[in-house]
């Protein structure tokens, strides 16, 4: 009996100590995971930068050479905030390894696209940090990154950002939590990386915040006032950390006329972005709307805010009408009809799963008629790419000292 007790307790002791030891190590690993991953990511972008430096492509043939006119804009925040031309851009989802699809689209449209959009979510995962490698790649290609930054709260490590809220209800009142500073560690780290990136970039935070059916930061979980407080809080943190190279795009959904309740104020917004996607007859709730029908009413209001406007997602599905005609109609007299619109970003997404239960294909890079119509119209815009001396002399906005007004919530 004594032997049995002795042996059993020795075995138990060994097992418990062993499990504790490995748990301890795993805990230590969990703790050091963040810094190690940051290190790995910075190594990756450093390697890419070093390689770029070594390879030193023939600059006369590089994409940035044909976008040289844009250099004057992207290095001048004042010009970026009030361009005297219309900047074009695109989002393409097939860019995991390469931006060649953007280059191919440019060849079809016979135009270079100064804006390249990417989407990234909030969270603790390793790909939810500031997308340094991509931003750098876009910058090196001669364009400016437009980062749509989505405040999903589901992916935050609960040890790092403790809350009593159950994980399935984490997004309820999420904007209030952001404003209260719960996610400041994340915001600050992101902002610091953005500052390190150095070059101006467009930052579209919490887009379509007035759509109650789409994203968790919408009005189904939050009051409009909470959005304003959260927005101001985020912008203030960036300014305090000196990440003034972020150009803030406030981007409501034009279909819900409540958008004015969500406007954070002129001090906190640089651009107004509007999504003008025509769903056609893809779903029972949708019908074929023209660009004017989608955009007209909100333009009438936003053009009075004194901010440049950007069509942040421009596109149409195929079902329910003539897509080429839709593009043609939307773009042909845009500069005259909507003079406050200073940028149009094409939405070339082959697989959009955010709206319906099935994936939607917004891509038009294989649609010859749409490409032909768009190419024709873009040519007819006769955009001049020589910013006036008056604008160039103006001091960059970012350089101006900011009073950093504190957000209402603080």
């Amino acid at each position: 009996m004594k032997v049995l007790v002795y042996r059993t307790s020795a075995v138990l002791l060994v097992i418990v100590s062993g499990v504790l030891l490995s748990a301890l190590l795993l805990y230590a690993g969990e703790r050091s995971k963040g810094p190690l991953e940051d290190l790995a990511l910075s190594v990756t972008s450093d390697v890419a930068r070093f390689e770029k430096h070594l390879v030193g492509h023939d600059l006369r043939k590089s994409r940035s050479a044909s976008l040289r006119w844009f250099d004057r804009y992207r290095t001048h925040q004042a010009l970026l905030n009030a361009p005297d031309t219309i900047l074009t851009g695109a989002y393409d989802n097939n860019t995991a390894e390469s931006y060649e699809s953007i280059v191919a689209l440019e060849e079809s449209l016979q135009v270079k696209l100064p804006i390249i959009q990417l989407y990234t979510a909030w969270g603790s995962k390793k790909d939810q940090v500031f997308p340094m490698l991509r931003a750098q790649a876009i910058q090196d290609l001669g364009s400016i990154p437009l980062i749509t930054w989505e405040p999903w709260l589901n992916d935050f490590d609960r040890n790092e950002f403790p809350t009593k809220q159950p994980v399935e209800r984490i997004n309820e009142g999420g904007l209030k939590a952001i404003a209260s500073g719960r996610y400041d560690a994340y915001i600050d780290k992101w902002a610091a990386a953005a500052k390190q990136f150095g070059a101006p970039f467009y930052l579209r935070f919490g887009h379509e915040m007035n759509d109650p059916y789409r994203y968790p930061w919408g009005p189904q979980n939050n009051d409009p006032a909470d959005f304003i407080v959260a927005w101001r809080h985020v912008v203030s943190r960036f300014r305090q950390l000196g990440a003034t190279n972020a150009i803030w795009i406030w981007s409501p959904h034009p279909a819900y006329r409540t958008y004015r309740q969500f406007y954070p104020g002129n001090e906190y917004v640089d651009w107004i972005g509007v999504t003008t996607l025509n769903y056609g007859t893809v779903a029972p709730w949708s019908e074929w709307y023209s660009f004017d029908e989608i955009f007209g009413a909100s333009y009438a209001e936003f053009s009075l805010y004194g901010k440049p406007m950007m069509i942040t997602e421009f596109g149409s599905l195929r079902v329910g009408g003539d897509r080429a005609a839709w593009f043609q109609q939307a773009l042909s007299d845009l500069p005259e009809k909507y003079p406050v619109v200073k940028a149009v970003v094409f939405y070339n997404n082959t697989s959009d799963v955010t709206t319906t239960y099935k994936s939607l294909d917004w891509s038009f890079n294989a649609d010859k008629q749409v490409l032909a119509a768009t190419t024709r119209v873009l040519k007819s815009w006769r955009l001049h790419h020589a910013p006036t001396e008056r604008l160039l002399r103006k001091k960059p906005l970012a350089a101006a000292p900011l009073a950093a007004p504190h957000s209402v919530g603080e």
Partner: protein
């Protein structure tokens, strides 16, 4: 070269024994093993995820080769839990003992002079037999001068084992110590092993093999490093599970045990064949972790690889011919042990597959897994850490810790350099093929050994691939792709680079081997200087 000073030699020529096992040490080791297994489970939880599969067949191959290595490590850890040292027993009095040592054409006469003189100094009464097929009368003279019985055994099949079996017919001693002629026994050799035969079930007693020429070259040092763990904690663990294997040299047999299995086994791994047959016949084995002799380890890469090829081929022979036949008669641990020993050289095949991964990626665009390299390292790190901790912890049971402790990186380089040899041995055994004749120069001839060619090919492949990738990325990769594919490309190149660096160790060994001047290391060994006092 190196430490051939008198003090170094003296430290080697002392009777040594591995430390005993205290309960607290074994408990501590068990804690480490449990923790190691826990971290392996954690790694498995991460590894086996659907999102990691890039190409299912390739992923399965990768999984097999990776987990093959992990599994072997776990089996070794578990055997460590049973580490045991047999208690010292006084030699049985008044028993008749024979020492068999064999000579073959081409072996240096002066070596036999030393070995036979050392045998004569063994204190326990015994008869030494020289099993000779040199047809050289000088060998007879040397034997008789040193009081050994000369037996001429010419034209027997089965090399060493054939001569041993023939000598068994012509002698009648109860116990037979089989001693390799390059091993210089200490006077107390028989005193330390004969006691264990008190147990009538004990068929053989094996002691450690230690060396005295490891300072001669990188190859010798690496080859010796590979054996330290085996003759310390590994065999001690196997001893605890009654799985200790005979290693050909330094093994003392009970005549009746040998006779019960029809004599010494014949084959390329004759020692292992003998051991498995004895275990199957119900004999017990004892492994005593003591240094009571020192011998020679191959000094040049060619000889080392030749020896490894012979063993690889022989071990597979045991795996394919003996293990299935004797399976029902073996205990669970013996089965596991012989499977583990028998598949040691499969690492040649798994290493080949590992090495192919980056080249498949660069030349064929194939990727087995969607694993983030950093994530892999983070998940693997605890396993690696406990692996190293356990490796270092069990070094307290090395036979000569002061001399043998370390991370044994030379041994790892040498094992890496031998993967083509292992692979060849594995492939040949699939159709029971014969080992091709590969000449190894007795004297250094300034030439690279044939065995280093695969390493050179590997070097060329790596450098060629590096050039290809550099040119491809400098001139042909669209700039829109460059930055985003940079991480994957150079991560894979780093992976290939690690293997490339490993080849450097083997190539250095080959280069050094080509310059090595042959010496007679036994010439400087002073037999009266051997100390039978247990060194601590």
């Amino acid at each position: 070269m190196g430490r051939t000073s008198n003090t170094g030699v003296n430290a080697l020529w002392q009777y040594r024994a591995a430390a005993g096992t205290a309960t607290t040490q074994r408990l501590r080791l068990a804690v480490l093993v449990v923790a190691g297994c826990g971290s392996i489970l954690h790694l498995a939880d991460w590894w086996f995820r659907a999102e990691h599969v890039a190409s299912l067949p390739l992923f399965l191959v990768l999984t097999f080769i990776f987990w093959w290595g992990i599994l072997r490590m776990v089996v070794l850890w578990i055997s460590y839990l049973r580490i045991s040292k047999p208690p010292q027993k006084p030699a049985l009095p008044q028993r008749r003992v024979a020492i068999f040592t064999t000579s073959s054409p081409g072996e240096p006469l002066s070596m036999f002079e030393k070995t036979l003189a050392a045998c004569a100094r063994i204190t326990y009464p015994h008869t030494t037999y020289l099993l000779d097929d040199t047809r050289d009368p000088r060998f007879r003279e040397v034997a008789e001068r040193n009081g050994a019985v000369w037996l001429e055994l010419v034209g027997l099949p089965g090399a060493k084992a054939g001569k041993i079996n023939a000598a068994l017919q012509r002698t009648d001693e109860e116990f037979i110590l089989v001693l390799d002629p390059d091993h210089i026994p200490f006077p107390n050799f028989l005193d330390e092993v004969l006691g264990y035969f008190e147990d009538e079930k004990v068929g053989f007693v094996q002691v450690a093999q230690a060396y005295y020429n490891q300072y001669r070259s990188f190859t010798a040092r690496g080859a010796a490093e590979q054996t330290y763990g085996f003759y310390g904690p590994t065999q001690m663990g196997m001893n605890g599970l009654n799985c200790a294997v005979a290693i050909g040299a330094n093994c003392t047999f009970r005549r009746t045990a040998l006779e019960s299995i029809g004599g010494h086994g014949i084959g390329l791994a004759e020692d292992l064949i003998t051991a498995i047959r004895m275990h199957a016949a119900g004999w017990k084995s004892v492994y005593n972790p003591i240094v009571v002799s020192r011998g020679l380890v191959p000094e040049d890469l060619g000889s080392f690889c030749k020896q490894q090829l012979k063993w690889a081929r022989g071990v597979h022979e045991v795996l394919f011919a003996e293990v299935p036949r004797l399976w029902p008669k073996l205990s669970f641990w013996q089965r596991l042990s012989y499977l583990t020993v028998g598949t040691y050289y499969v690492s040649g095949a798994t290493m080949l597959l590992f090495l192919l991964i980056p080249y498949l990626f660069f030349w064929a665009g194939m990727q087995p897994a969607n694993m983030d390299f950093v994530e892999f390292v983070l998940n693997w790190l605890p396993v690696g850490l406990f692996g190293v901790l356990i490796y270092l912890y069990v070094q307290r049971w090395l036979c000569h810790p002061q001399e043998e402790r370390g991370l044994h990186w030379r041994g790892m380089c040498l094992k890496f350099a031998c993967w083509p040899v292992f692979f060849l041995g594995f492939v040949l055994s699939l159709w029971n093929g014969r080992i091709p004749y590969i000449p190894t120069a007795k004297q250094a001839d300034g030439r690279f050994t044939w065995f280093a060619w695969p390493l050179l090919v590997h070097q060329l492949l790596f450098i060629g691939t590096l050039l290809y990738v550099v040119v491809e990325r400098a001139y042909y990769t669209p700039e829109a792709r460059l930055a985003l594919s940079s991480g994957d490309t150079w991560g894979m190149m780093a992976f290939a680079g690690i293997a490339y660096l490993m080849t450097l160790g083997g190539l250095f060994a080959a280069y050094q081997s080509s310059k090595l001047t042959a010496e007679e290391p036994w010439a400087t060994v002073r037999l009266p200087g051997i100390s039978c006092q247990l060194a601590s």
